[in-house]
Amino acid sequence: MNDFDDLYMEVILDHNKNPRNKGNIDKHTNHANGHNPLCGDKIALDLIIEDNIVKDIKFTGSGCAISTASSSILTEAIIGKKTSEIRHLFEEFHELVTTDNKEKNNLGKLTVFKGVKKYPARVKCATLAWHTLIAAIDGDKEVSTE
């Protein structure tokens, strides 16, 4: 517990400090770069998608704690999932960080970002990795959250 855990939950601090799935995949099938010009946050995602299922994902980039933790937790959450499930998950995640809608059935660990909705300026930090992920799935190479 810390005095700031309405936003910076321990899980977020842990993933910021020790990001999971950091790195590149040389033989990726999908790739996208994400950029938040406002904060200078940058992320690059490499994925292996087979039969519409994410087999592997790795990320590189630099950003704030929220953006780094969001990227890290996202990678863990989506490995083995169908791309259609991932799109649905992003919708739920987006609702989590922007609305008070309570019904979240599939988010699991991703609910640690629920505090973000009280900080409108930080929503883009939490969603940059997701926008980049959807771009990678769609075959787009670049995404900018402006």
Partner: protein
């Protein structure tokens, strides 16, 4: 306590007493300025330069009286040299479009510096693109000081204008503008100084420094938003094309021909920000009652105190170490993004700015995405800085 003159500062943010250290973005407003604006709308509101009725004459008088205050505050030759604008950004756009653009031909250039605010970059890009001309950059050193000898090397026969800030909003650097102005004039080039971060901190006399153009914003000097000042030498303004067309900037209009008004009204089309101008006049009174010398002395003490304290914190680096600085400190903490610093400080009631401060070329120079920035005004105290230092330590604890 001067803090008591600022009602907004007595509140709590996140259950902590507000410590406001984002003054380079905008300063808070003293009761006298707030009351003056309220009084204008309660008792005087009327359009200026138009009616023969009492209120219109009264508001015109108050508006023009503010122009006199500005003229005296910056030491211009006359009130004709003082144009009210929305702010520094509009002043630069006005000069770019009305003065510089007509001078530009293909292959010409304009010189700015590496530490400019986007407001002193983008308007020049817009006109140089249109005129197929280019922008040259006076570089800076690692301390965040301009390498002014380079200005002479950059100037060539196609250089048509120089525009440089007086004080960097990100680094706090006070630039040697007298030297820059001299170099420009030795080469028969006109120069504009962006004083948005200067006039609230130090005495500026436009006649003494011999600037051709000088501009600043009201809201960074305890005045309201939406009002600013463009100073330009009378002979330059006389020859300049209007910026916007409309009411009040004309003497007579027929469908065939319009005769423009005299300066400075020629550059104030439409109903201006009357309340803003009057509020700015009151802000000048506020500064002059304290005296700019005392403000400067207080702020320098705060800057030195903060610099010493912040330099002592492990893994914290100050960005911008010019030998001459205004009360602005940008800093970074190893491994912690400035936005996270900003959020933690906010939760402790401390308002700072985190980001690129509209100076992305400075961020690129230091190869950082952003900085945290604390900037001080007359109402800040050493206790505020002690709390800032404690909060930086707490931030490090959270992310350790």
């Amino acid at each position: 306590m001067i803090k008591n003159d600022f009602p907004i500062l007595s509140q709590e943010i996140n259950n902590k007493p507000l410590i406001y250290l984002d003054n380079a973005s905008t300063t808070q407003k003293p009761t006298s300025v707030i009351n003056k604006i309220a009084d204008y709308y309660k008792n005087i509101n009327s359009n200026i330069h138009r009616g023969v009725h009492y209120l219109s004459q009264k508001s015109t008088e108050e508006y023009e009286n503010s122009r006199i205050k500005v003229h005296k505050f910056i030491g211009s030759k006359s009130t004709k040299e003082i144009v009210f604008v929305r702010g520094t950004t509009e002043a630069i756009n006005l000069v770019a479009n009305s003065y510089v653009k007509p001078l530009l031909s293909k292959g010409d250039n304009i010189i700015i510096s590496q530490m400019e605010h986007h407001a002193n970059i983008v308007p020049w890009q817009m006109i140089t693109k249109e005129k197929e001309s280019e922008i040259k950059i006076i570089p800076m050193n690692e301390n965040g000081e301009l390498i002014i000898e380079k200005l002479e090397e950059l100037i060539d026969k196609n250089t048509k204008f120089v525009s440089v800030n007086h004080v960097s909003n990100t680094l706090g650097t006070i630039n040697p503008i007298e030297k820059l102005i001299d170099i420009a004039h030795e080469n028969n080039i006109k120069i504009m100084i962006d004083g948005a971060q200067a006039v609230q901190h130090m005495k500026v006399n436009v006649k003494e420094i011999n600037a051709d153009f000088y501009c600043f914003s009201g809201h960074k000097m305890y005045g309201p938003t939406g009002i600013g000042v463009l100073y330009a030498k009378e002979e330059i303004l006389e020859d300049m094309e209007p910026y916007q067309g409309g009411g009040d900037m004309i003497k007579s209009v027929t469908f065939e021909k319009t005769v423009y008004n005299d300066i400075p009204n020629r550059f104030e089309a439409g109903t201006p920000n009357v309340a803003g101008a009057i509020g700015l006049g009151e802000a000048i009174d506020f500064i002059e009652n304290i005296t700019i010398e005392k403000i400067e002395k207080n702020e320098m003490e705060l800057l030195n105190y903060a610099t010493e304290k912040i330099s002592c914190i492990d893994n914290v680096k100050i960005i911008g170490n010019s030998s001459k600085k205004a009360s602005v400190i940008s800093f970074i903490i190893d491994g912690i993004h400035p936005h996270d610093i900003g959020t933690i400080l906010d939760k402790l009631g401390i308002a700072i700015r985190a980001g690129h401060h509209c100076t992305q070329p400075i961020m690129d120079f230091y190869e950082i995405p952003a900085t945290a920035r604390a900037s001080f005004a007359i109402y800040n105290t050493k206790e505020d800085i002690d709390k800032l230092v404690d909060a930086i330590e707490k931030t490090k604890d959270v992310f350790s």
